[in-house]
Subunit: 327 residues, 2 copies
């Protein structure tokens, strides 16, 4: 089973209005509330690809109860360590007349050291029998930036590989702890580098992140697909056509495909092809964590996976070529 | 103890942002969540004026739990019949840069007949020992427009007087069931009359509503105060100066003062003076159900209570005069 760690889940509330009055009273004609946060999106995609998954996280207050009850019936097996604070909400107003959305993200609860300790004890127990761990999303307040690094080290000690999808200092420290894969997006890689990155510079920055400790680095480039730097060399994987859409959902689907490929031992080119196809299908879906299987299957055949053109440290010995299965 | 019926409570969530991006991502710097709905506002004001109060209502789902847990520690004694649907949220975005607020009101749950029956059984039991009942707010979906009329009749059979604050058909039917006081605001009275009402027409429409069955009608006129039509004659009660502000909170404070005056046998002019002062103090408070005791005390001395000028059916025999205590 794949363990998905969800330290900062959310209840995602969406109000749809015909035309929003930003200075008055609105009566939304559709209201949705569903469990969210990157970890839960990853878990849902894994479940939808028939991959056994178990969620471990932190939740508290009535909103935490809303997350837990929202998961019942979805098939996601989740155990949340109860916290004294209240799980965060996100609130989206969809204005149909303007075709815009406004998103309001609550800061979320402050985690006490003893609450994290209780979670960490359960996490360590759950590693026994886990095939991989996904550490995904931002850390809640109160947890040190090195939290994901510590969880990565614990998993490594238990022989369980980690896929890490976070940003900032938590990513930098986490990568140094030796996860199997880190999956920054372009903005997150640029934030780490401290500057905008050209296409060639992405390859170099990804290689730097790998040199810092990660066994593989997969950068999600939005509609441009993925850039991967691995022990087997580097690849660019791209969808047949740019699909604008749900960027959060797309990134989480890429993470899900990467950990699934890791667990089943998929060669990197296949793994990346699935990751691009699942990411593209999820970008087209209105809700993060969902995708159309038809979109997934159709895109899968059309993804291109190539060795990157041009010099970069990790592709030094790799000639540009189109790859099938290098197995 | 005063019973306050709260069939459609809400969890009121407020996000404060420095400057809202209505087409982007916002990180509110202050988040508030508190139990709301007119009944709970009335209950809080009663409690703040040292009046014993007991809330009976309907609540369900994690948001219902949020309402219940939000009341713990406030001193409001509340018993909610559990429903299968989810209690509604209201969502307010306060944009400090523009000094505007956007409010989003969820439609709320659908109540099943057996859920209301369970509530009604508890209500009937609770009438034993109650000094008065407040029926306040809109009816949730699934309940007939005659629901407040039925609850009024049940209370009347138990000898317990009712103060009714609602609108539309629920008000029309409820007034016919003979409550001690109905408290429409001007807009609600106009909706019932089917047209805009001048000052004189307000007096006539209020008298009509009383003739339809209510023992007294008190119309809240916003900054213009109150117009009351009672068995003891008619009055206008006005604050010293117009205070713009929290209209919802003001109306609920007026209802609280009216039921309190009813229970302690306050003569109408005193009752109206307190209602205007408490309404005015509550209009000045940022949050419904709260007020500054200093504002209340200061305003109380400055409220004017007069017999209304001009002919109206209920003031036919009353000469214009300033009233102290007619007792």
């Amino acid at each position: 089973v794949i363990l998905v760690v969800c330290l900062n889940p959310a209840l995602d509330i969406t109000h749809e209005v015909a035309a929003a009055d930003w200075a008055g009273v609105n009566r939304p004609d559709a209201v949705h509330a569903r469990p969210g946060g990157k970890g839960l999106n990853v878990a849902r995609v894994l479940l939808a690809t028939d991959t056994p998954v178990r969620v471990l996280g932190l939740a508290g207050g009535p909103t935490g109860s809303g997350v837990i009850s929202g998961l019942s019936g979805t098939g996601v097996m989740a155990e949340f360590t109860e916290i004294g604070g209240e799980t965060r909400r996100t609130f989206t107003v969809v204005d149909r007349s303007r075709e815009t959305s406004a998103l309001f993200n609550e800061p979320g609860p402050l985690i006490a050291p003893e609450e994290f300790a209780a979670f960490a004890a359960g996490y360590e127990r759950a590693l026994d029998g886990a095939s991989a761990v996904v550490l995904s999303g931002s850390l809640p307040r109160g947890l040190a930036a090195g939290t994901y690094a510590a969880l990565t080290a614990t998993a490594a000690a238990a022989g369980v590989p980690v896929v890490l999808d976070t940003h900032g200092e938590a990513l930098r420290l986490g990568a140094a702890a030796g996860p199997a894969i880190v999956k920054p997006n372009l903005a997150e890689l640029e934030a780490l580098a401290g500057r905008r990155l050209s296409r060639d510079q992405v390859a170099a920055a990804a290689a730097d992140l790998r040199a810092a400790g990660a066994q593989a680095v997969v950068v999600s480039l939005g509609p441009d697909g993925l850039h991967a730097v691995t022990a087997d060399g580097s690849w660019r994987a791209a969808p047949p056509a740019a699909v604008a859409g749900n960027a959060t959902g797309a990134g989480d689907a890429v993470t899900a495909a990467l950990v699934r490929g890791l667990v089943i031992g998929q060669p990197w080119p296949d793994r990346l092809r699935h990751a691009v196809a699942l990411g593209t299908a999820s970008a087209a879906a209105p809700v993060a964590g969902e995708f159309s299987p038809e979109d997934y299957a159709r895109t899968l055949d059309a993804v291109t996976v190539r060795r990157p053109v041009g010099f970069s440290p990790s592709s030094r010995n790799a000639a540009p070529e189109q790859c099938g299965d290098p197995g």
